[in-house]
Symmetry: C2
Subunit: 225 residues, 2 copies
């Protein structure tokens, strides 16, 4: 499979955070149209101004809801504790759109312990909150934000989950645009695997004194870095 | 961490199956004391005779319960549908022993779909069935049995889950003895990650026409191949 082309504007909600900021920077550098969202529009505007200056592109910063309203693809990179609030906030403006949920259900302080939500995964929870009018795909659970924040290659695959192949393919293209290898990994319920794996990676970081362990699927010839 | 030495006899239950047979062969070749178990002792005896002839070692084949009774470390490699029955069968003879559960909760026909048990993982289910007198560690969820059946290297890490570090360390040593890299991956509840990941690997095998996709943790300097 060759990756789909990315059409339209990408909103990165939580765009002033570590993961959101790093993804936005990589997509901006790759020439994609971006808007950043944050709970406070001022914070998003500040992050967007920095990104615009750094990458020589025009990036706007808005409230999460306004950013989602302005975009075709909405990437949600907020902490687990904020997921429900943010998704309920944007629900009125994302019908018919692709929402990419990156939520990992970490429950502090025991972040090295797998604690999946009652729905089975944060991705399925996202779909339930947003309803059937929204296409939810989940991805980017395992990549270390501080590695993604650098411009070099990241030794980590992106597992992409969703019930529609075409929607997954658009997110595989987003991974490739960020310099990562994206792999189709099956139905949205399968997101539990990648979400749980993040706790294992954190455990391995601590146990083996690793600075950002990642995940590679061997044997697969997927698209991207 | 350097791996623990393996002391005592290893029982491989489901030893006439694909995964059990492949693990047993690798451990036999590495010179470890083995006994094979199967639901039917005759089937185990047949597999053991083949292994003895092939590897030039004396391997016995017994019923699952007799094999477990004769061993210090009990490795359970039976299908999910048989897990409960086999564990209840051996429970009277494994108090104080190390039980290594390899069960992946695949629910045919939808084996590409993550369907974790209500307990959260097959490993936690195993611990509940066996009770607190038994130390359960889970591992070997992701390695393709047909690749393990060959004598060469396998491009897949073994994630090892358990609530006691020392018990995990013994299973890391079992992985190393089988020519694999074993990595401490945290508490037994974390087993959900590796169990779920097997459905993703099966999906990737089909989607990308891969012959046995595997998993590598990047950045980690664990023990083994």
């Amino acid at each position: 499979m060759s990756p789909a082309t990315i059409h339209g504007v990408i909103a990165v909600l939580g765009g002033s955070g570590h993961l959101g900021g790093a993804l936005a920077r990589r997509w901006a550098r790759a020439g994609h149209s971006l808007v950043l969202g944050s709970r406070e529009a001022a914070k998003a505007a500040e992050a967007a101004a920095g990104l615009s200056a750094e990458c020589g592109v025009a990036v706007r910063g808005l409230s999460n809801r306004d950013a989602a309203a302005a975009a075709d693809i909405v990437v949600v990179t907020v902490p687990y504790a904020s997921q429900e609030r943010v998704l309920e906030d944007i629900r009125p403006v994302v019908a018919g759109k692709l929402v990419v949920d990156t939520t990992v259900p970490l429950v502090p302080p025991k972040v090295m312990r797998v604690q999946l939500p009652v729905e089975g995964s944060a991705a399925v929870r996202a779909q339930r909150i947003l309803g059937d009018a929204v296409t939810v795909v989940s991805a980017f659970h395992n990549v270390a934000a501080h590695k993604l924040a650098l411009s070099g290659p990241v030794d980590c695959d992106v597992l992409v989950f969703g019930d529609q192949k075409e929607a997954r393919e658009r997110v595989v293209a987003l991974a490739v645009a960020a310099g990562l290898r994206g792999l189709h990994a099956g139905a949205l319920v399968n997101s539990a695997a990648a979400e749980a794996l993040t706790s294992i990676l954190i455990f391995i970081n601590k146990t083996y004194a690793v600075d950002g362990a990642g995940l590679r699927i061997t044997g697969a010839l997927g698209t991207g870095a």
